[in-house]
Symmetry: C2
Subunit: 237 residues, 2 copies
């Protein structure tokens, strides 16, 4: 959105001390492969609101998210937006069978990605089935999440959607940063609404309601779970 500077770091970073080494696609590579892999990717920074790639763009690169949060979304011709997911460090983006991206991806706040040109990456993967296997695992895991989200979108009430979202988001952050009842929400209310298939007003009202009932506290840049059990009960219903 905002015109901000996209930076490409000129120097070579070391995969071996990359923050996502253990959780991203590269977890499947041994040290010697990693050294070769290092030459394929380059770190790129994006500022808040910048678009990393757009739906229908021809796929020229894949991306490994290193730092920050991204929103992945699709737009209808009339502008309605559905966010199909939020990406966190370790997520691998850009795979498709059509040669074109099937969703758009924006940085929410500052983001660092490891960018791979499609062809060299494909060649590298060609004779490294364990990398393919890793990518397949990530795809299958995502598919499972996508199905869970379909249930949420198709069959849950607004209260259940919001409660489920807070718990699932906390769970994802837990895997990265450890457990906490403080749940940072780097995305806007509009983003949350477009993820849950609601309007911004309904999201806001639901937060307020949860706070009035003592289930959460709305804090700067996120929420705090005051009564996790109550939120869980709402989400389960």
């Amino acid at each position: 959105m905002k015109a901000s500077v996209t930076m490409i770091e000129p120097n070579g970073h070391l995969c071996s001390d990359c923050a996502v080494r253990g959780i991203a696609v590269c977890a499947s590579l041994d040290p010697s492969e990693l050294r070769e892999f290092e030459h394929l990717g380059r770190r790129v920074h994006f500022g808040a609101g910048e678009t990393v790639f757009s739906e229908e763009d021809i796929t020229t690169s894949f991306y490994n998210l290193l730092e920050g949060v991204m929103r992945l979304y699709k737009l209808l011709p009339d502008g309605r937006r559905q966010i199909v997911g939020f990406a966190l460090p370790g997520d691998f983006l850009g795979m498709n069978t059509s040669g074109r991206h099937n969703f758009s991806a924006d940085a929410i706040g500052a983001v660092t990605v490891c960018q791979f040109a499609k062809a060299p990456f494909g060649r590298f993967m060609e004779d490294r089935p364990h990398l393919l296997k890793r990518i397949n695992e990530l795809a299958i895991r995502e598919l499972s999440q996508a199905r869970d989200h379909m249930v949420l979108l198709g069959r849950r009430s607004a209260d259940e959607k919001v409660a489920t979202f807070l718990l699932a988001w906390r769970e994802r952050l837990f895997a990265l940063k450890g457990s906490s009842n403080t749940v940072p929400l780097p995305m806007s209310r509009q983003d949350i609404a477009d993820y849950l298939g609601l309007t911004i007003e309904t999201v806001s009202r639901t937060f307020t309601k949860l706070e009035r009932h003592g289930a959460i506290e709305i804090i700067h840049g996120g929420i705090s779970l005051r009564d996790p059990a109550r939120v869980e009960a709402l989400a389960a219903a």
Copy 2:
């Protein structure tokens, strides 16, 4: 649902003249591999309404759908159901990372599957990266469809949902049986409702409305597209 007889054919079928040879996972195998592959799968029949596997079941097999249509769904504790997809011949079912199925699968009408025990299949795939690659492609394609469906569930109106469904279903059948304005709908109105995140009444009313407007004709076991352009216009909106 209904207690009907599940049949396992005792004799060996030939993969080489299998109906889905060219479109399923096995499309990635050469003739000699195919002969070996033949010993891994066995054909199993299911009657209308029978459950092939259930969510949370430990995954012991993978399935290659050969004939018929299946509904893939998830249930909420209180019984609300979301159908996450319909499977057609050529679809490969059962992959997951957790060791348990993450959705349930029922036969809609009579179904024939090619069933593979998980471990031998995994071993066979181990040293056949092209099979893994094929499975990965199918997973990524499904992921793309899942994202499209999220947009439908989260952001489309009832009219748009129904119109989009009819066109997408016709498109899938087209790939199997060729083009036609007659669209068979083997699934019930309840199934369609649970797929689109609507109620059965809304689906029924929307069909009737489309028919009154001359866009479709409701026929036994499906619909006929009378004015495909109008349906497309509704779906696009």
